[in-house]
Structure formats: C-alpha cells, structure tokens
C-alpha cells in the first residue's frame, strides 16, 4: 500500500475563455516566481488534467501552495472539483463533460510576512466514479464571494500536489 503523488504547476493549467486566473511570473531578487493570480472579487478557475494511474480507492487530496499578493491577514476559500471519464467504458462526450460537486477549504494567512508561502489541503470526496487509469480534470477555483474569503488582493497559486492511495 502506498501513496501516489502528482504535482501540477501553473504552467500546466488550462483555462476557459473567461473567468480565469492571470498567469504571472515575477523576477524575484534571486529567482523567478510564477503562479496563478486568483482575484479577490471575481471567481476564477484553472483546470489541470491527469491520468489516475494506479488509483486504488478513497478520496483524493489536493494540496494547494499559495501566497498573498498584497495582504498579510484574512482567509482564502479554495474549491476543488473533479471530472472523470473512464476510457472505452464511458460514452460521455469529452468536450461536454461536467464536474462533480466541489469540495472546499478555507486557509488563513499566517501573517508576519505578506508574501509567505502557505499550503492547505482539499479533500476531494466527490470522485465522479474514479477508477484506476481514468482521465481526470481537476478544477481549482477561489470563492471570493464566500463569507469565509476575507483576504484582500490576489491569492497566487504556485503548485498543486495531488495524492491518492494505490490500494
């Protein structure tokens, strides 16, 4: 029994025609930093695709790495949702598939340094009948209209690490 990890970077994100986070790259003091800038007022979403190789059972965990653009307090509400297709079995049209009900997490800025890195985990329990070898799309969005989303300014997503059990 083991845990499988998949890492997704901002550069691998796909977007719809509107309501998507801006991709940004900043030349930091010693190295570039890149991320997806999620707006504080309008909900925006990015989509990441992967194949659930050797998926066994149980929920998926999406660990989000993020930092605040300008804030040093408040909380961000993140949403994750899965859309799954089993090849050769599902007759679902790939281009019209829908997402299962989303799961959310709220993460509070830890203060001290505005642009410090945070991480939080969304337990993806609405699996859309996930099975090993399925093709999966993961939607990551910020929910700025949620009462728990109190942080001003953009939340910048730097990475997503998915994990699941192989048994």
């Amino acid at each position: 029994m083991g845990t499988i990890y998949l890492e997704r970077r901002p550069e691998q994100a796909q977007f719809l025609a509107s309501a998507f986070p801006e991709y940004m790259k900043v030349n930091g003091t010693n190295m570039p930093a890149s991320g997806l800038k999620y707006d504080a007022s309008s909900s925006e979403a990015a989509h990441f695709r992967f194949v659930a190789t050797n998926y066994g059972s149980g929920n998926l965990t999406a660990e989000l790495f993020w930092y605040a653009d300008t804030a040093s307090s408040g909380a961000v509400v993140w949403e994750g949702a899965l859309s799954v297709i089993t090849p050769n079995t599902d007759s679902q049209d790939v281009e019209t598939d829908a997402y299962a009900t989303a799961n959310t997490v709220a993460d509070t800025h830890l203060g001290t340094t505005g642009q410090r890195l945070h991480s939080c985990s969304i337990t993806l329990s609405n699996l859309d009948s996930l099975a090993a070898g399925d093709e999966v799309s993961l939607r990551i969005a910020r929910l700025p209209a949620d009462a728990g989303d109190t942080m001003t300014g953009d939340a910048i997503l730097t990475a997503v690490r998915l994990s699941y059990s192989d048994s």
Binding site: S41, S42, T70, S72, G74, G114, G153
Partner: protein, 93 residues
Amino acid sequence: MAVMTDEERRRVHAQFMRVFRRFGLNSLPGNKADLRILVNAADDFADQHASTYNQMIPAAQRSLFDNDTKAAVLCAVILRRRLPELFRAEEDG
C-alpha cells in the same frame, strides 16, 4: 452629487485590490470588509465635502472651471501630497 450606488462602491473595492500595487504600495492591511468600509467612508467624505471644496474656490475660478476639472485638480493635489510618485512633475527631474 449623491454617494455612489452600492454596486459602484463594490466595483471600486474590487478594482482597488487589483491595481493596489500601482499606487506604489506593497502591503494592504486588514481584510476585505475593512477595505469596503474605507471605500464607503471615502465616498461619503467626497459627497459630504464636495460643496465645501467648491466654496473654497474663489468665485471667478469656481465659475470658470467645470466640475470635472475641479475634481481632477483635487485628485492631483491629493496624490502630490500623499503619493508623490504617482504625480511627479517634470521639474522633479
């Protein structure tokens, strides 16, 4: 002039967070509710003191300049006083 509508204030609040860095500022304290209260207060102030500002202008110039120009000059003065990098003069070099 009345205060802005709730939707107009919401848009100011939203856009200010997007362009915050353009004001030469790096860190925005508080949360979204705090900032919205500040936006509301600023709009209330602008509404309540518009006539005071107008009366401060000598009569000849008060009638000479239209309200848009008066508002633009007020913005320029406030920027120069508080955020001079946003309203630098050629004379500053």
